[in-house]
């Protein structure tokens, strides 16, 4: 009762009302728009990614996400099911006999989202811009091989190479950097790598319509799209860093589907699957989860230690208990289903006794009363670096820590967010690195090529393997395998390279990973695409 009479309380209430209205005023307009779009019956699907979509520039890397680049920009050719190269922005192409000249006949009905024409000139301009920063794209061997680009006429584009390079077409399907932005997108300096884009103009089925950094991005259907138009009008991509948050949001219907690899933990996937309320899907194996040992470090330089680590790893336990049996055990660096990767080797089966023996031989002896092995008074401590935004890596890392502990190996876990993780990885500041292969269309040739380059967009493997005496030899073989025109020699070299890597035990392949998809029952058309990083947004539909 006295509240009414009290001046001070009244003042407070007034203040609070003002405050409240301020907060309301500040609150997001996005939801209003969401609601509005629901009202006008347009179809919207919402999903989430771990990070921001970035500046949406196909010619650069981090912080760009593959999936968003693929939504807006397109390539000359498309990587179809089973690795079949399909026409895309190029209707057809001719390859010269010596394999050094490629002539592309472009589609004539393609327009950029700003209505400008897609033609050979803009293709050349994009290529040339990319080639200006050749060093940065070193990992794409094709770029190293390009000698000349030429617009023969308005819709014909010619690529001349230094050598005949067998994966040329395959590399043209890559999501980055060989995709095309419109004329108006180029910065004044014309250098898209250093100065970014003026605006995001692509030919793809989606146009970025609203964007709030680190919160969400809204893509609207490109009504002028030349190909099959997407079924939904809008895609909302929310940024949710944490896997558990993602699952919660999905359960609360704030997300329509979950898609990707490592975006949720296996436990959550299993939980969602078991609940029976949602549809779940698991793709064919795409890439290999693997540990990489740093051969420059004191302990892991020793072949015996690496072997011991291989033998001591209980892959089956990981697959049974962490992956719930959903992923297949990996014994080789690349899934044997790929071209050239089916090799005949003796897998390192789980054998603790063998591991202990190897460690003893390497000089790392158990010390009475101490938990960890020592050599010359130094504890056997290995730094294990993994990516903290991947929801699967952490549980494996902790498992490894616990399991190796039994052998007297102290694993120090270092988890870092994506960007820092890769930086640290490239610097080689770790003993064991959690990594994975790149999946098709990159595996195996681009992945192996990246082993040979130390550029920032190569692989951390380059540095990691520097400690191997055979390193030079391996690099040369990889260079050779990419350029050889002889199918048989190529096959032989691949077998040779992969066997050597297996024999040196620098990798510890764990399992072949798959993409997961979880979606509500009103969602359809969520099929896995050939490229792992692509999200099937064109086929998706919502009821």
């Amino acid at each position: 009762m006295f509240i009414k009479q009290s001046k001070i309380l009244r003042n407070f209430l007034v203040l609070l009302v003002i405050l409240a209205s301020f907060i309301t005023g500040c609150s997001n307009k996005a939801t209003e728009q969401d609601n509005a779009s629901v009202k006008d019956q347009s179809k919207v699907v919402t999903f989430s990614m771990t990070g921001d979509i970035g500046d949406l520039n196909p010619h650069t890397y981090f912080p760009n996400e593959f999936f968003s680049q693929a939504m807006v920009y397109e390539s000359l050719v498309y990587y179809g099911k089973g690795g079949e190269i399909q026409p895309w922005l190029a209707e057809s192409w001719d390859i010269s006999k010596d394999g050094k000249e490629y002539v592309f006949h472009l589609r004539k009905d393609v327009e950029f989202s700003d209505d400008s024409k897609f033609n050979a000139a803009i293709v050349k301009k994009n290529f040339d811009t990319i080639l200006d920063n050749r060093k940065q794209h070193e990992w794409v061997e094709l770029i190293n091989q390009i000698k000349n680009t030429e617009a023969l006429d308005e819709y014909t584009f010619k690529l001349t190479l230094n050598n005949s390079y067998y994966p040329t077409l395959q590399e043209l399907t890559y999501i980055r950097p060989l995709r095309f932005v419109g004329e108006a997108a180029f910065p004044d300096s014309q250098d898209t790598f250093k100065d970014g884009l003026k605006s995001q103009i692509g030919t793809g089925p989606w146009v970025l319509s609203e964007y709030k950094k680190n919160e969400f991005a809204v893509f609207t259907r490109n009504e002028k799209y030349w190909g099959t138009k997407p079924k939904v009008d809008k895609v909302v991509v929310k940024v949710i860093t944490d896997g558990e948050s993602r699952v919660l949001a999905f359960e609360k219907n704030e997300l329509d589907f979950i898609f990707g690899n490592g975006v949720i933990s296996q436990d959550s996937f299993q939980f969602l699957k078991d609940s029976g309320k949602y549809e779940t899907k698991l793709s064919e194996p795409t890439a290999t989860r693997t540990l990489l040992f740093n051969t420059n470090k004191e302990a892991t330089k020793d072949h015996k230690v690496r072997l011991a680590l291989n033998y001591a790893f209980n892959k089956q336990a990981v697959i049974d208990n962490i992956f719930y049996g959903m992923e297949k055990k990996a014994d080789t660096l690349f899934p044997p289903v790929l071209e050239y990767t089916k090799i005949d080797i003796n897998p390192y089966d789980y054998d603790v006794a063998r591991a202990e023996q190897l460690l003893d031989e390497a000089g790392w002896k158990k010390v009475e009363g101490k938990p960890f092995r020592e050599k010359d008074g130094k504890e056997l401590q290995l730094e294990f670096l993994f990516n903290s935004t991947d929801n699967i890596q952490k549980s494996i890392a902790e498992f490894v820590q616990g399991d190796y502990r039994k052998l007297g190996i102290d694993i120090k876990l270092t988890s870092q967010e994506t960007n820092t993780f890769w930086t640290t990885a490239f610097q080689g500041n770790y003993d064991i690195l959690f990594t994975s292969t790149w999946a098709v269309p990159f595996d195996p040739h681009s992945y192996l090529a990246s082993i040979t380059t130390d550029s920032e967009n190569g692989g951390p493997d380059y540095t990691a393997l520097l400690g191997l005496p055979e390193k030079k030899e391996i690099d040369e073989k990889i260079k050779k395998v990419l350029l050889t025109t002889d199918e048989k020699e190529r096959k032989m070299l691949y077998t040779d390279i992969l066997s050597t890597l297996h024999d040196r035990a620098v990798y510890l392949p764990i399992s072949y990973q798959s993409n997961v998809a979880v979606y509500h029952k009103n969602i359809s058309g969520l099929d896995f695409l050939p490229q792992e990083a692509e999200v099937p947004l064109t086929t998706i539909d919502v009821e």
Binding site: E244, D267, F271, N321, E398, F399, Q401, G402, K406, L413
Partner: protein, 283 residues
């Protein structure tokens, strides 16, 4: 009648004090004898046993790596409580001499001291600790360093205030006039006068220190795996908290109980010391 209520209230306070000190002693006991009390090795990973319910082998079940939760909780007492006590101890080690020094000497020394305090206290303390850990890198040592470096000012300032309060008292002036040396004045008059307040302060605040440590660990910046720490255990159990809420519940309850026990104890101690003073006057 009134007296009865008073007595009851006093007893209630005593009860709280007794209960809270039993909890605190129990926790310290757990920490000291963790290796005897824990049924299992807290760091022993057996992935095949993961996320098990309570059983005779694992009284509270296992976590996502098949480690015994009870054992981890018990060993967590060691890390959480031990770190908090260490941090508090270090802060006192710095701030008691400095606070007394600044307060007693006064003048320019005090002025300088106060300006340093003002500056350090202009930072939100948790943020500064966080930044320090961030820059020095995560880990137990850096965590302790960051907390002590940031928070000692607060205590030094409070202690300085206490000293100033005592210094105002005429018995200090009288002691000076009596020719008592400064050091003796500090040891005989000032220290005893503030020490009970400092003890109360320590007990009232140690709960906050425990919370801050577990918060940093929760963010992954404090104690590193596989060492068991409650805040980290909560973070670890995040992925499972819908199916296995107990995973998150247990360490949370542990933190909660310890902190509330310290808070209650501090409060009761404060009241008890007040009552003594009043009582002394009436007798």
């Amino acid at each position: 009648m009134k007296l009865k209520i008073k007595m009851r209230r006093m007893l209630l306070k005593h009860k709280l004090m007794i209960i809270s000190s039993i909890i605190i002693l129990g926790m310290i006991g757990l920490a000291l004898f963790a290796s005897f009390l824990a049924p299992n090795d807290p760091n022993f990973v057996d992935i095949a046993q993961k996320l098990q319910g309570p059983s005779s082998q694992f009284p509270l079940g296992t976590d996502h790596l098949g480690r015994c939760i009870l054992s981890r909780l018990i060993f967590g007492t060691q890390t959480s409580l031990g770190t908090a006590i260490l941090v508090m101890g270090l802060m006192m080690f710095i701030s008691i001499p400095l606070g007394i020094f600044a307060g007693f000497i006064g003048g320019k020394v005090d002025y300088l001291f106060m300006r340093i305090c003002d500056t350090l206290m202009a930072f939100p303390s948790f943020l500064l600790s966080l930044a320090l850990v961030g820059i020095l890198g995560p880990g137990l040592f850096n965590l302790i360093l960051a907390m002590v470096l940031v928070q000692w000012v607060y205590y030094a300032r409070v202690i300085r205030g206490m000293v100033l309060g005592v210094k105002e008292q005429n018995f200090i002036v009288a002691a000076k006039v009596c020719g008592t040396p400064k050091f003796i004045i500090i040891m005989k008059h000032i220290l005893p006068a503030i020490i009970s307040q400092v003890v109360v302060l320590v007990f009232m605040d140690i709960g906050g220190v425990i919370l801050a440590i577990s918060s940093l660990s929760f963010l992954g910046l404090g104690i590193q795996p596989p060492e068991a720490e409650w805040g980290m255990m909560i973070n670890d159990s995040k992925p499972f908290f819908r199916n296995y809420p107990s995973l998150m519940l247990y360490p949370g309850i542990m933190i909660f109980i310890v902190v509330i026990a310290f808070n209650l104890f501090g409060e009761a101690l404060k009241d008890a010391l007040d009552i003594k003073r009043v009582g002394g006057g009436v007798e």
